[in-house]
């Protein structure tokens, strides 16, 4: 990936220096080094997790707990904390916490990073590592009566299970006894028009006011990680990313996997393919944001109104272009390791014409959205200063993407950790300082403009691309077997935020551990923070403004 890392030598040296400095900070706890491809890895004792993470956050400015991966080896369990810095995402470190097989217990990171709460619950649920000090270690994705931990080595999939259907299970019942006034417990979802899929919100109401909301997820847990671990790197994994964030963001997700495996197996991507990738990905982003805006309007307006329909109309246009490019409307499966599967469709002029046509009309439709939505007084009354998410809170929950940028956190991997062709192009990262539902809406609308800019430049580049230099795929071997025990964590900026992949190879054609860091999973965690004390309609609007996709939350 020469494109992505200008001056690899100097870079590597700087990284190594930084890694040693960090090691010095937490030296007393570090037992050994277990470096990953992009990040130094420090192996620490299970009881020093909070210390180490706390120090790294304060002293080394690693304030973004991007992901927690748990996995089981033949001889031990391991939890990996992937740390990054919001200011500079290339400044990374991993904290590796091995725990013995017979007593997989380790200290929880939840007191340091609030986002660790759910991540550790997931690790407990799927792998079976237990975290001491964790505020609420329950299953998160699987039904609470599930037996066994499916990603552990000795899990028996053939075993029958029993799933309960409990109604009105009020988690707060005990806390409420002393409360003044009456509260009412309300199940919102998993089948409810406002949850955009199968999310279940356990809500406690005081009149119309929300006093507590507890998202209950896992109604779409499709075992994506397990399936990727059972598939080969070269061909079989690529279709799955399309189905994580299924709101037309397929190419963005495919890129996450492509980036990780290309780093891991050292695959070059021809420049021409990078431009095509960039263009396709931004088209996807427009489509995804359009739907986000449409459904947000649906939530606030309360019916399948004009805005929703207009948004879908614009999506249809994007989908037509993407269909011309990839052959599918939604599940593209267009990226390949080292490039893309085929060149732009013939005749090229017509294809470019259709894109330009779309881009020409886009400002007009954006104008229309602004007239209908963002300039509407009632909508402003409804959304300004509701669902407030201060930047510090957003950071401690690991929020990324438009949610973080709507809170003024200037974090965009396309610029900060450049990949593809982004650093050669001229565009801006959009942030808003409002921290509320309205700014998240604005961020999305403005990001559509930026994406259009990028696409336009890509089209210009592609039009003039010399005919004899149109390599769409580099030479990649038929089977890929990365070296044993190579570990990599790589992320891209997907439609909803930082979409990261952690992979560990074991010398075979299939990854030994495949972990997806989904932006929605982290973003959804901020919901209680945003909506406690607000009214039900604001809860619904905040949920809409988070723009979660359950396929990605549950994976």
């Amino acid at each position: 990936m020469s494109l992505e890392e200008p001056g690899p030598d100097a870079d590597a040296a700087a990284v190594a220096r930084a890694a040693d400095e960090m090691e010095a900070l937490v030296g007393e706890h570090v037992r050994s080094r277990d470096d990953h491809l992009n990040a130094p890895g420090y192996v620490v004792r299970p009881d020093a997790v909070q210390d180490v993470l706390g120090t790294l956050r304060e002293e080394a400015n690693l304030d973004h707990l991007s992901c927690v991966t748990a996995q089981e080896y033949e001889d031990r369990y391991e939890s990996i904390y992937h740390l990054k810095s919001y200011d500079d995402p290339t400044h990374e470190a991993s904290v590796v916490v091995p725990t013995p097989k017979d007593d997989p217990r380790s200290e929880s990171a939840a007191p340091v990073f609030r986002t660790a709460d759910w991540h550790e619950r997931e690790a407990y649920d799927l792998v079976g590592v237990e975290y001491e000090d964790h505020p609420d270690l329950r299953r998160i994705l699987l039904p609470e009566t599930w037996q066994g931990h499916p990603l552990s080595l000795d899990y028996d999939q053939e075993r029958p299970q029993i799933v309960p259907l409990r109604e009105h299970a009020n988690p707060l019942e005990d806390d409420q006894e002393g409360d003044e006034g009456e509260t009412m417990y309300l199940n919102i979802g998993p089948h409810h028009p406002a949850t955009h899929g199968v999310l279940h919100l356990k809500t406690t109401l005081d009149g119309e006011q929300v006093i507590d909301v507890d998202p209950d997820i896992g109604y779409l847990h499709r075992c994506e990680e397990q399936l990727c671990q059972k598939s080969t790197y070269r061909y079989q994994i690529m279709p799955y990313p399309d189905r994580w964030d299924y709101i037309s963001a397929g190419l963005l997700n495919e890129w996450a996997y492509a980036r990780a495996i290309e780093d891991m197996a050292d695959i070059e991507v021809p420049e021409y393919a990078q431009v095509i990738r960039t263009m396709g990905a931004e088209l996807c982003r427009i489509a995804a944001h359009m739907l986000a805006v449409g459904t947000f309007a649906l939530d606030v307006y309360g019916d399948f109104t004009a805005i929703f329909m207009y948004a879908v109309r614009d999506r249809e246009k994007v989908q037509n272009i993407l269909e011309d490019l990839t052959g599918q409307r939604l599940m593209f499966n267009y990226f390949r390791l080292g490039g893309v599967v085929w060149d732009l469709p013939d005749p090229r002029e017509e294809f470019f014409e259709s894109i330009r046509d779309f881009l020409d009309h886009l400002p007009g439709s954006l104008e229309e959205y602004h007239d209908l939505i963002s300039a509407n007084e009632i909508l402003q009354v409804r959304t300004v200063d509701t669902g407030v998410l201060p930047p510090e809170v957003a950071k401690s929950y690991g929020a990324t993407g438009p949610v973080a940028r709507g809170s003024g956190v200037d974090y965009d991997l396309r610029r900060d950790d450049p990949y593809g062709y982004y650093d050669e192009l001229d565009w801006d990262v959009v942030t808003e300082d409002g921290m509320d539902n309205y700014s998240r809406l604005l961020v999305r609308l403005r990001e559509v403009e930026e994406s259009a800019k990028i696409i336009e430049q890509c089209v210009d580049l592609l039009e003039d691309w010399p005919t004899d230099d149109r390599t769409i795929q580099s030479n990649v071997p038929r089977t890929i077997r990365p070296d044993d025990d190579t570990e990599v964590y790589r992320a891209v900026e997907a439609a909803k935020g930082e979409l990261g992949i952690y992979m560990r190879s074991d010398g075979t054609e299939q990854p030994a551990r495949f972990k997806i860091r989904s932006p929605c999973f982290s973003n959804l965690q901020t919901l209680p923070e945003m909506s406690n004390g607000e009214y039900i309609p604001d809860l619904v609007a905040s949920l809409g403004s988070l723009d979660i996709v359950l396929g990605e939350v549950d994976r």
Binding site: L141, T145, P160, Q161, V163, P164, Y219, C223
Partner: protein, 234 residues
């Protein structure tokens, strides 16, 4: 897991009962027949005409349940919206409450945790109700069939009238599916239904086995539960 467990699961379809299912398995599905017809026993001319009229009515207009599960629901939304506009066929009114819906389009992967809820939503719909399974996931589990948590098709849980294959099916395909469903209803055909192993049962009614014993403390006797058995479903 003991070897006999799978057998125990599939056996005894008599133990769990739902009228709809039994009616459809035994071929005495009377969803299309009026009460009058039942009373008269035969089919005199006027009632036949009446039945035809009712079939036409049910085939011409239907309210859909606003129900989204996974990726396919995105294409389902496109089907409702501009360009494809399912409402042209009189089938484009999404109702949020299952009590007011006639057709449930199942758009996506069903996993163990969701299956009981979906069953519940289906049960809440008033008869006559129809199910359109959208996407490979509702046929077989689709790309996720191998997953430890995935129900291999909607038919395991509820009876499906029309399957629309594809991953996801294009909106045109879904429209075709709905149009086909309307056609079938209008001609009075009903669909054959396979036996579904997954039912909502009271926990206390389950056969005692290893799993049940383990969970006995966690689940109340009268809680509704659904068995999930990855290996056993077809």
């Amino acid at each position: 897991m003991s070897d006999s467990a799978p057998d125990r699961f599939r056996s005894d379809p008599t133990q769990v009962e739902t009228d709809t299912r039994d009616a459809r398995i035994s071929g005495t599905d009377d969803r299309f027949n009026s009460k009058l017809r039942q009373a008269f026993g035969a089919s005199p001319f006027i009632l036949t005409k009446f039945d035809q009229f009712m079939n036409w009515v049910r085939g011409s207009s239907m309210f859909m349940l606003q129900f989204g599960i996974a990726c396919c629901s995105i294409e389902m939304m496109h089907t409702y919206a501009v360009k494809h506009d399912l409402d042209r066929f009189g089938a484009g009114v999404p109702r949020a409450s299952p009590r007011q819906a006639d057709v449930i389009i199942v758009p996506g992967t069903i996993v163990s945790k969701f299956a009981p809820r979906m069953k519940r939503v289906y049960d809440q719909m008033p008869e006559p109700k129809f199910v359109v399974g959208m996407g490979s996931c509702t046929i077989s589990g689709g790309p996720f069939q191998e997953g430890y948590n995935v129900v291999k098709g909607a038919e395991e849980v509820i009876p499906v009238d029309i399957h629309v294959p594809g991953c996801p099916p294009r909106p045109e395909a879904l429209i075709y599916g709905v149009a086909k469903l309307q056609e079938r209803i209008a001609t009075g055909e009903s669909s054959p239904v396979v036996v579904k192993p997954y039912e909502l049962e009271e926990f206390g009614d389950l056969d005692r086995d290893e799993v049940v014993d383990q969970l006995a403390e966690e689940i109340d006797e009268d809680d509704l539960v659904m068995r999930y058995n990855w290996a056993d479903s077809p």
